[in-house]
Each structure stands twice: as C-alpha cells, then as structure tokens.
C-alpha cells in the first residue's frame, strides 16, 4: 500500500544545477500537486495537474517546471537551482478537487538544499 511516493528523499544541489523530483501515486487519482513547505510560511502550491497531460501554475511557480506524461506520475523540475529553492517539497494527490473535502494524500517529502 504505497500511496504517494517521492524520490529522492534528500538532495544537495549546487546553485545553477538542475534536477527532477519524481512523484508516483498508485491510487488512480486524477489530481496531483506539488507543494513546498518553508518555516513560517506553511504549505504553498507550486504547480498542479488535473489529469494526464495537463498542468497549471499554483501560488509560487517561478523557477519550476512540471510534467504529467503518465497519470500516475508528476515530475517537478528545477532548471537552474537557487538557494531560495531550499525547502521541503511535498507531492500530493486526490481523487477530486481539493475543496470537496475528499482526502488529499501527501507523500513523505523531499528535502532539498541548494548551496
């Protein structure tokens, strides 16, 4: 019963490097999300997807790109990492829209440090 799986769990990047965070869900959910969590800021939505092949910007999309080529996977890319992108990244998925009260399932997080 995997739920939402994120890889890698920890990563240290140098400024300017690129990387991709992978999120996989096995619940056949349509909606997938990438959040970042920073001290004192709470969870902020970066990008989201309402179905395979679709993506949309969230609250803080700058510096990130996403792709949803397969329904079960949602990739978050950093093309040129900056220290301001040091954060904990959470992927999440849900069967329906967030506001409907249906459960949003979060992954366990990916800790990213940009030096």
């Amino acid at each position: 019963n995997a739920g939402v799986t994120q890889t890698p769990k920890f990563r240290v990047l140098k400024t300017g490097q690129s990387m991709t965070l992978l999120c996989a869900q096995d619940m056949n959910h349509e909606y997938m999300y990438w959040y970042r969590q920073d001290p004192g800021m709470g969870l902020r939505l970066i990008h989201y997807s309402v179905g395979e092949g679709t993506t949309a910007k969230g609250e803080v999309p700058d510096g990130y790109n996403v792709s949803r080529l397969k329904k079960q996977n949602f990739l978050l890319g950093l093309e040129s990492a900056a220290p301001s992108q040091t954060s904990v990244y959470f992927c999440a998925s849900s069967r329906d829209r967030q506001h409907s009260g249906n459960t949003i399932y979060f992954g366990e997080g990916s800790w990213l440090t940009v030096v």
Binding site: G42, L43, F90, A92, Q98, H99, T103, F106, G109
Partner: protein, 114 residues
C-alpha cells in the same frame, strides 16, 4: 495580510490536557475547512473536515467553525503523547470548475508530555 493566520506556537501541554488550536482567516468566501496533522519528517494527513459553520466531532477531536468571526478551532480532549505533531489548518472556497485551491496556515507545533 495572509489569507490564513495561525499561531505557530510551540504549544506544550501535559498528558490529559485539553488542547485548543485556532486559525483566523480573511476571505469570507471560504466554505471548506480542514485540519491536517503532520508528524516530524512526514507528510500532512487529513484529520478533520468541516463544511460551512458548525461543529464536528470525531473521537477525542472536535472541529468548530465560526464563519461570522472568521475563526476555526480544533479541540483535542485527553491529549496523548502520540498527539505530538504540527497541526495545520487549511481552507478553500468553491469556484465551480476551478481547482478550489487550499490555503494553509503556518501550522502549530504541539508537544504533549507524559
């Protein structure tokens, strides 16, 4: 002003105490209110969900929404050390075909000591 305000704490209480966690918000369009629990080094998990105003009880947990005051609360009765976690409030409006984005509070860190 943030859409959702939540005192980050930390809050430390003895086992068995009644815990009160609160959030205020500014957007009167919010209709859906949630509480998430997040253990250290883990992702958030949905604890309580309430639509519009009123109370909802689930075991030792009670969620209250007062839309007139734009104020929501989570009460934990007979608190246990296993309740030690960060509690995040979240809320959303309903905009038809749009995502109905969730707005999260900063989270309150709770420690229940034996």
């Amino acid at each position: 002003q943030k859409e959702v305000e939540q005192d980050p704490g930390p809050l430390s209480v003895p086992e068995g105490a009644i815990v009160s966690l609160n959030c205020t918000y500014s957007n009167s369009a919010f209709q859906y209110f949630m509480w998430y629990r997040q253990y250290s080094r883990k992702g958030p998990e949905l604890l309580m969900y309430t639509y519009s105003s009123g109370n909802k009880e689930d075991g030792r947990f009670t969620a209250q929404v007062d839309k007139s005051s734009k104020y929501i609360s989570l009460f934990i009765r007979d608190s246990q050390p296993s309740d030690s976690a960060t509690y995040l409030c979240a809320m959303s409006d309903h905009r038809g075909s749009t995502l109905g984005r969730l707005y999260f509070g900063r989270g309150t860190q709770l420690t229940v000591w034996p």
